[in-house]
Symmetry: C2
Subunit: 274 residues, 2 copies
């Protein structure tokens, strides 16, 4: 599972305030805590700062990579911000995200063309948000085709089929899950990636819904996620689902994580409780 830690985002109040005063310690701490949870990329977003975005995104990359040995996910539709950040970035960055919206598409395609960048391909077009698996697949096909024509290999593409709130349409869960399955089976070697939390919008006990939906999506082949890695419930669910999906040889990652997180007391309780 390719996990992107989402916490360094300028739309979050505390991060926003830290950026304004260039509080590097706060950003470094968020980077280290996410790295300790085993993430693969650290998302950096300076979107709310508009004109300053290129400078701030570069500062975020340098601040993060000053303390952790991980690549960043550059979370912006602004080619100037991405180019500035890439100029100081070490390792294989990920772009979050290209879509079929024409302005965004044409702004970002030249950046990923002929590069070794990873890229999230969001199933969104100027026609609006897709509802069905078929609509998602049609957008994914066009994005993958366009990226491949520019020499972006399948294994660097992370299709995001776009999670939508189940409370607005009972079928949105199934349509998303079927899109994951179809993308993974039709484009062998491609990845899928998404944020989960929109699924539970408007409903009680959102964490339960988000975690349950993660397990369901992994069942259909999802192999990437953007999330808060400090959420132990979600991270444990992912480790469990990976064991159960046959992706964790000898259950090693699961048992190691369990030992590391000192849950033995809880387990002993449960064994006695049976």
């Amino acid at each position: 599972m390719h996990i992107v830690g989402e916490l360094i985002n300028s739309s979050r109040r505390e991060v926003n305030e830290a950026i304004k005063v260039r509080n590097a310690g706060f950003i470094e701490d968020l980077a280290k805590r996410q790295a300790n949870c085993g993430v693969n990329h650290i998302d950096v977003n300076a979107g709310v700062f508009l004109q300053e975005e290129p400078a701030i995104l570069s500062w975020l990359v340098q601040t993060v990579q000053g303390v952790v040995d991980l690549p960043c996910t550059l979370d912006s539709p602004n080619p100037k911000a991405i180019e500035a950040a890439l100029a100081v970035h070490r390792g294989q960055a990920m772009i979050n995200s290209i879509s079929l919206e024409q302005e965004r598409y044409h702004a970002l395609l030249p950046i990923v063309a002929d590069s070794d960048l990873k890229v999230i391909a969001l199933c969104m077009s100027d026609g609006g948000m897709p509802s069905t698996a078929e609509e998602r697949l049609r957008i994914a096909e066009k994005l993958i085709d366009g990226l491949q024509q520019k020499n972006v290999p399948l294994y660097n593409i992370y299709v995001d089929p776009l999670v939508q709130p189940i409370c607005t349409n009972n079928d949105f869960g199934v349509e998303f899950l079927n899109a994951v399955e179809q993308v993974m089976s039709q484009f062998h070697g491609v990845h899928t990636m998404c944020g989960m939390s929109n699924i539970s919008f408007g409903l009680p006990n959102r964490k339960l819904l988000n975690q349950t939906f993660m397990a369901m999506a992994i069942t259909k082949g999802l192999d990437g996620a953007i999330l808060n890695p400090l959420d132990e419930g979600m991270m444990s669910t992912i480790r469990a689902a990976e064991v159960l999906a046959g992706r964790d040889e000898f259950c090693m990652k699961y048992t190691n994580q369990f030992r590391a997180s000192n849950h033995w007391a809880l387990n002993n309780y449960q064994l006695r409780d049976r």
Copy 2:
């Protein structure tokens, strides 16, 4: 989701002791508490009492149905015990379970033949426990064929593909899940049903694995389960997975259960926590 409450089982120490002294109050309490959780059938098992099994299974049925308006799942391979229990049972009982093991098969087939009984068809044969989805499907096909020849309709058959411990073989999860999917798609109208807890045998944090595997199995179409309905984590996971699988119109069951279980405080905490 068709849920069978599993707690009235003579292999559990407290139930065993209650049965020995015919402590009806203990059994009644277990029946009422399970009924309050919304189960569809209440499993009764008197297997450890051997010669006394027919008399005790009948007593359990009468004791349960004296206080709750639910049918029972008669959990026995012994046709005499099942016949004695059926003689006093009200409503549509379920038999747990027929299998392709020849002794059990020939003992139970005459009981379900030409009846309106529901029956669990366990994917087990004298050739041992199946490993792959294909082996499970082959047994399921024979069981379904044999039952249909005896006029048992598909909608009364609950195929149990047999959960096996993931720690003994990393593929056991996927093979089980694929069996659920294949049984549900090949035999339109049939049900699937299982106990989950074997999946996590030998691993830490078993409840997490069991719940996660339940969500994964529901993704593949599982529509029945034998479980401890007092396990709030498991029951919440099932309600969440049913919403997300599009099986809960307007999310009504989910939101009603949430209100009933007084989790608002938890939810408010989580909303603040975002």
